[in-house]
Amino acid sequence: MTPAKRQGDTTPPAKPAPSFGDALAQEIFAGRDLSQPDPVDQALLQRPTISFRLRLILAFSLFFLLALGITLWSIRVLGTVQQKILFLEVADDFKLELQQARRFEKNFLLYGSNLEDALEHVQQAHRLARENRQTFLQVMGAEGVITLEEHLQQYAQLLSTLARDRSAREQQQVREHGGALLVAAQGLVEGERRLVHEMLGLARRVPFVFLLVLFVLGVLLVWFLGRQVLATLSRFMGYTERIAVGDFSPITPARKYRDEFSTLALALNRMTRELDRHHRILVESHKLRAMGNLVAGVAHELNNPLNNIMLTASLFKDDFPELDDDEKLDMLADIIGQSERARQIVRNLLDFARESETQLEPLAVKKILEETVQLVGNQLRVKKIKLEMNIPDELPAVHGDRQLLQQVFMNLILNAVDVLPERGRIVISSDTGKREGFLAIDINDNGPGIPEHILGQIFDPFFTTKPKGQGTGLGLSVSRGIVRKLGGYLFVESELGRGATFSVLLPITSVPATVGAGGS
């Protein structure tokens, strides 16, 4: 057993039922005035521009500033280190002078010689301290410098007094001051050396930290910009998918600013407008084709009421003197009744033919189907096709456009008529359980069915199985386009030799109560 094949939409459209159909005729014949920007386009354009180029420039500038900062800082650190090294040399000299002074002081105390040398070295140290006072001040602070200077002065004084008075007390004082001085100088040198080491250590670590920061920042930036690009790209992919399923509503601004993608959005909007226009032309021209078929049938259909009128009116005229009033009234009533019948036939056709704006409204499908069946009545009669309509009166209203739906149904019915042999059968039924929120209208025929290998192509434009010149191959493609625009789906299921079933799934309207507004 061959399972029934199912072919058709599987993805729901992004948005149901966008509005289309403003001044259709005008657009078809005159084309759009492209110098006049679309309101949506204007909304897209009337945003501040923050382009990706600008964003890249900003990111680059940030990196550059960071690198500049780090470089400047490094230069400064190196400068400081250099100064410190210079100072270290001075401090070392200072220490050395003091050490010499102490050595000579010791010699003097031991052997009584070299006191002048000690003094000279102290003075040398004093001079160094004076010459580099500024640096000393920076390193030791005012207090330290003053104490150092005091110590130096006192030491020098003590040394000079030591020449005259070599008492033990004096000797003791000289030793104390000399020791303190040496300790201070030692501390100074040690402190400075430690500082230099710290700074050099910092200068070694900072580049690594900087690299890390740069890396993190780079990653963040790539992620941020990438996310923006990717998000926009996926947004645009969404648009194209939407367009692919026949939703031609324009792209509206999604962000507060404009960038390169806005230009793309404008281009896409222009494209969808063109697509929409062509789709409408296609739908319209296909409708005209369908009408051509109908007109022939309807013209014949009209012959019956016309014949009745012609006969009655002719005889009314010929037999006028002999007719009594009742007969005359009866004949006139017949003429009026038959004229009414003719008018109804014409009106049905005109209703279908009327070029009107698409109006999405809650519709009673049954009424539309009945009108459609009336229109194709002649085609059915010619082939003696039996049409059963199993549609309950109580059906939820669907969302759609009356004329467009009529076009779809007519197309499906006429397709069935074309494939059916004489005395074939068409069954139209409804089903609310096929998919949540949708009403399914099934049009089933007991014709030859559709071979599996062409089942996938029947909705393609210009695909036709009819002899050359008889079909445009657009019927099913246009029908699917219409149904998708209305937010529904069109499927076919067929088994060879057992006929085919076309299912139109239409969204059930959420607006309650207005069932029966199908007319007007």
Binding site: I28, F29, I281, S285, L288, R289, F462
Partner: protein
């Protein structure tokens, strides 16, 4: 008594069969005199009309408009003649010119190319090669013009009710087949077919009157009511449309004229697709 349209390929004995079939059915044979009458109607010399129907389209050749004019007048003359009584006619493209008349039997006289070339050479005493060339050329032009003027494939046998292979039958036998077929009940004149012919004749008369103004106008008629479909559209050509209407109203037998402007969107769209 029969109405027969004979279409004879180059080199087939069309005229002989037509005359014989006319004799057998008691109808009248008409042929070249229709072309003369049509040429008079179109205001052209017969040679020119003949050229319009037998030469291939070329850049410096006869314009399409002239060809249409010739056809319109030929059509008018032909259907006018058919109204007068049973007729067997042999005119170029006659089977395209009269359509939808159930009591008109359309016959194609056919023979393979070699056979036709042979009889052509005999009849005109020219060389065999020359005859083959001429017959081929005529077939080519015939197909080309049928496509151009009637959008039809002239070799399509569906255009005919009867196709007779004249290479197997002599003129008498072929005429007999034609005559017997034509006298079948199927091809009897009815009120309906008579009405169709009258409508067609009126439409053709009107078309002949209008063709100088608009060579693409389509005319249909039903019981004296004439309907014009013109591609002359737009506000600027209003005067031309008024003129069409006036000309149509002046034709004998016209009781009313309806003018329809065709802005043929579909063909405009599908033209590049074809």
């Amino acid at each position: 008594m029969a109405m027969i349209c004979l279409s004879s390929l180059a080199g087939c004995p069309g005229e002989e069969v037509a005359r014989e079939a006319a004799r057998l059915t008691g109808s009248e044979y008409v042929g070249p005199e229709l072309l003369t009458a049509a040429a008079t109607g179109a205001g052209l010399p017969v040679e020119k009309l003949h050229q319009a129907l037998t030469t291939a389209p070329s850049f410096f050749g006869i314009t399409l408009a002239t060809r249409r004019r010739c056809l319109a007048h030929l059509q008018a003359v032909l259907t006018g003649r058919l109204l007068q009584g049973p007729t067997v006619f042999l005119v170029p493209y006659g089977h395209h010119l009269v359509r939808g008349i159930s009591h008109l039997l359309k016959v194609r006289l056919y023979a393979p190319g070699e056979v036709r070339a042979q009889s052509w050479a005999q009849a005109r005493s020219c060389s065999a090669a020359e005859a083959v060339r001429r017959v081929r050329e005529q077939d080519r032009v015939r197909l080309l013009l049928a496509r151009l003027l009637f959008s039809a494939d002239d070799d399509d046998n569906d255009l005919f009710d009867l196709v007779v292979n004249s290479s197997h039958l002599d003129v008498e036998a072929a005429a007999q087949v034609v005559a017997e077929t034509a006298t079948q009940p199927r091809y009897r004149e009815t009120s309906y077919s008579r009405q169709c012919l009258e409508d067609l004749a009126l439409a053709n008369r009107v078309k002949a009157a209008l063709v100088g103004e608009d060579d693409e106008v389509e005319v249909t008629s039903s019981g004296g009511l004439v309907r014009l479909r013109t591609r002359v559209t737009g506000r600027r050509s209003r005067r031309r449309r008024q003129r069409l209407q006036q000309l149509a109203e002046q034709v004998d037998g016209v009781m009313g004229v309806e003018l329809e402007q065709v802005d043929d969107l579909i063909s405009r769209i599908t033209r590049p697709l074809r």
